[in-house]
Amino acid sequence: MRPGLEGVSLLDVRDLSYCYPDGHEALRGLSFSLAPGERVALIGPNGAGKSTLLLHLNGLLPDRAPTRPAIIVDGLPLVEANLPEVRRRVGLLFQDPDDQLFCPTVWEDVAFGPQQLGIAEPQLSQLVRGSLGQVGLGGFEDRLPHHLSRGEKRRVCLAGLLACDARLLVLDEPTSDLDPRGRRELMALLTRLGVGQLIATHDLEFVVEICPRAIVLDGGRIVADGPTLELLDDEPLMLAHGLERPHILRHRHPH
């Protein structure tokens, strides 16, 4: 297990555990760290606890933030008082963009976060335009959400997070329902963005292509954490945790 760079880490998770009200133990003593700008994949079988972990990173679970925080974001412990700031620094991208894109127009949706932070005109419009430009959707300000494709909706959501100056993007299955072009565009966009990223995904090819490091989660526990190529090439490890060695690695020559 790779130790985090103490003192400079973007995200520090220490012994995080969580039990659902119905008794189901979703997370058991998770510990890991992320350095600023790092792009890490979070992989594992269904039910491993990936989505649960992601919700924790924004303080959406548990219902009341713990007194002894297990999560530290950019040096800020995740406690009740820090929730607004943590939610700003950690931008959570939901799996279904329709859940997150809840405003009437694209402009209003990207502006939602900054408005909650108290940003007003004229910086607000500049921020919205800038963020939309960053994700390649310049000129989309007046568009209506239901006229956009899935990929475009996702990028609008991303723009909304970037507009709040998020330092860490946490993405839940971002390529799950994209067509090949949408997927390529998203990969290009994520590599362009300099912020740290934690990406929960089933798309192992995607992981190989853009995530240097991977964390394998199974049954609420971290079973592996290391360089992507090492982990994903380890066939027994992959199969043991409901995954498989991605095709892209099968055809690589050992030299």
Binding site: F102, P104, Q116, L144, H146
Partner: protein, 205 residues
């Protein structure tokens, strides 16, 4: 999608009418409707003038008259249904005609308004006139998720229909109810996720 066209009355355009501020258009439309409603029953010349005015605005807006006419025709039966009640009174024919005319003019006004004004702009007007925040948020969310739910409903209906082997009213009722029930469950679950998303982006209830 035909449904989409039917559900969105807005016709995209850049005419002078389109560019007028939404608040002004809404006020004018409501004012127009009030005027028509207040007019004395046999003010036929006034009715004709207003009708001409509406046609004029429609032409200025370069609106798709056919689509608006279709909407108008679809709504007429409801107007007729109530106006017919007036015929049940002695001497009710002039009343029937005047109610029919008034109603139709009002319908046409609102159809014209929604054809030239985006709903999101109308929502912004509601915010500005200080309509209770809870109500405006409700309307905004309703409008946003209307199309999402319609698509979900259509998908579920298609799935149900492909598994319905016995035609007839009974299975049609059961299918529709099943779709509605499932849709509500999914809507509830989505509402939870929307709440989480709103909190994640800094919303404070």
């Amino acid at each position: 999608m035909l449904r989409d066209r039917f559900l969105s009355p807005y016709q995209h355009g850049s005419s002078a009418i389109h560019r007028l501020p939404a608040g002004a258009k809404l006020a004018a439309a409501i004012g127009g409707v009030l005027l028509v409603v207040m007019l004395p029953r046999s003010a036929w010349w006034a009715y004709a003038t207003i009708a001409l005015g509406l046609v004029g605005i429609a032409l200025l807006a370069r609106a798709e008259l056919r689509q608006m006419l279709v909407r108008l025709l679809l709504l007429e039966p409801f107007v007729l249904g109530i106006a017919v009640l007036a015929l049940l009174r002695p001497g009710g024919v002039p009343l029937f005609l005047s109610m029919l005319t008034k109603s139709t003019l009002c319908l046409a006004t609102m159809i014209l308004l929604t054809a030239t004004t985006r709903f999101s702009d109308l929502l912004a007007v509601l915010w500005r006139i200080r309509m209770p925040a809870l109500l405006v948020t409700t309307i905004a969310l309703m409008h946003r998720y209307l199309f999402v739910l319609v698509e979900e409903m259509e998908r579920m209906q298609r799935a149900r229909r492909s598994r319905t082997f016995i035609p007839g009213r009974s299975s049609a009722w059961r299918n529709s109810a099943q779709v509605a029930g499932q849709l509500f469950v999914r809507t509830s679950e989505r509402a939870e996720r929307v709440y989480l998303a709103m909190c994640a982006r800094g919303w404070k209830a």
